[in-house]
Symmetry: C2
Amino acid sequence: MDEKKKPSIVDVAKWAGVSTATVSRVINHNGGYSRETEEKVKKAVNECEFTPNANAIGLRTNKSRCIGVIVPDVTNEFFARIIQELDFYLLKHKYSLLICNSNEGYELENMHIRGLIEKHIDGIVYISGQNEIKHTGKIRNIPVVYIDRAPKNAEMLIMSDNQEGGYLATREMVRKGCLRILLLRDVRCASTIRYRKEGYLRALREGNIPYNEELEVSCFPEYAQARSVMDRLMKSRGCFFDGIFATNDMMALACINVLLEAGVKIPEEVKVVGFDNISLTRFTSPQITTITQDTRQMALAAGSTILKMIQKKEIREKTTIIPVTLEVRGTT
Amino acid sequence: MDEKKKPSIVDVAKWAGVSTATVSRVINHNGGYSRETEEKVKKAVNECEFTPNANAIGLRTNKSRCIGVIVPDVTNEFFARIIQELDFYLLKHKYSLLICNSNEGYELENMHIRGLIEKHIDGIVYISGQNEIKHTGKIRNIPVVYIDRAPKNAEMLIMSDNQEGGYLATREMVRKGCLRILLLRDVRCASTIRYRKEGYLRALREGNIPYNEELEVSCFPEYAQARSVMDRLMKSRGCFFDGIFATNDMMALACINVLLEAGVKIPEEVKVVGFDNISLTRFTSPQITTITQDTRQMALAAGSTILKMIQKKEIREKTTIIPVTLEVRGTT
DNA sequence: GTGAAAGCGCTAACAC
DNA sequence: GTGTTAGCGCTTTCAC
């Protein structure tokens, strides 16, 4: 065993006085060896401080035990939470997570995908973040699990029950007496948003409240844009609503700040519900009522699905819907 | 060239009518071939849709073009921003980023490190997040760059100019007339916090304001803890300060909410400055004055340093200090 | 300027 | 139950 080099399985074999095949068998728990040799080998492994060479294994088996995750923006807490849970789940299964931040950009995404392919990663988790999927077809022969949105030909999809979320959010306000509930929605035509709106409509119907087109306002799903839209609305038409369902928490926060600054009382005069339950919703005053997307379950579903695909196990459901919950707090 | 299998350099060599050695040379721009063969090979590479097998390269060269990043919590925006920039920088240099979320846990971190070693990653970026570095010595022969904090025997360290940050924050309040500036500090004894306090003291000295021990309050650096500490303080002693320097933005936010709820006017009666400039500081009302840690420069420094170490280039500075800036907003 | 061939560390098929 | 060995795809030395 060389002084400088890392010990290989050959070194271990020599040390234990067995063949490399036997060492390999023991390491991989493949059976076909006696209790005795097992001990010998394990001892040798420890004493040599042997660690397997993933590159060699990968080359030999065409597996890398790496999963790539493509994400529009790690900086977004919702995505970060998914990554965190995914990392934890995969670590337990001895997989590594390669992070690919696309910044919502086509070019970065493609560079990343190219890198992933060269690295022979075993699978990809693709978190779309409501934007269009652009790469379609570029990824071949690699299992892909989509979270949130997926291209038509996609195999596997994990998503929250957005319809139910929209419903729960709106029902909460209806039950508490709101009659003119503003829908402040992400302007982008994502299916997730469409579902949330369906839920909103369902809750209105259930409460015998007619849908009013004037109460639907679109804007880009960022704080700044939501703020200016609400500012303009308040200036031009005043507070003509008694509830707001914002399709994400940042927009909800923008509403709350605008209303509070205009002297409107929350939740007495206007109630507000957001979506996502990012941590920020607990750091405001009042704290924001919102819909929890269960990032943990989403990550778990994505992780176990991708592992199953890698192992070519059969998967019953192509689409997994993760339940959402209403978090009642100070704004309703 | 097999139908199902990915083409290897053997296929390309056959296609181009040259040897694998030549293909390798062309691919790696190693010179020693004619303009003519270069064209032939390049053409073959394209037509075969050849992508190199990173495992084979890694096995042969003992390089993986992978960098691991160990981070206490991806969900923390400050860390996420560093990861984002690092990912971008490394992508440009054709390196991949393996994410290792330690959740501030010893065990997870070690599992991750073990995985990184097996994967023969080329380097590690270690973002400590002010907690102690525990692994010391476990990582051998792998270049490591530390961000924020480093163990004694560490080679490379990137950090913000925390002293200057504390100074700028405090000076801003001194200049605007504050005389009793509360220091709400992270209770953990990290060097970063120590530096920030030094800056605070320097600004006081400069303003001829005596340091008052009673104005230094410690707590865990989370919103909830900061809130309850401030709540208690206000209940027991009222508002005996006219400024607060909180050593991170979450604590600053907690202060602001407590004060606002108690009817204290910000910034008229009390001014507040945070630290980090997380995006949340712009989503509050009033927006929070804070110190920007330049995550982009930190990531750039970490990225270029780790690449230099990998290439065994000499590095002048062991420690890189990244400048910080004061962001004046509504709370001062 | 180009090719032949060894070998990186490992697994798995086959032999015993 | 264990050993021998071929070969995964690539780089690199050594010939020519």
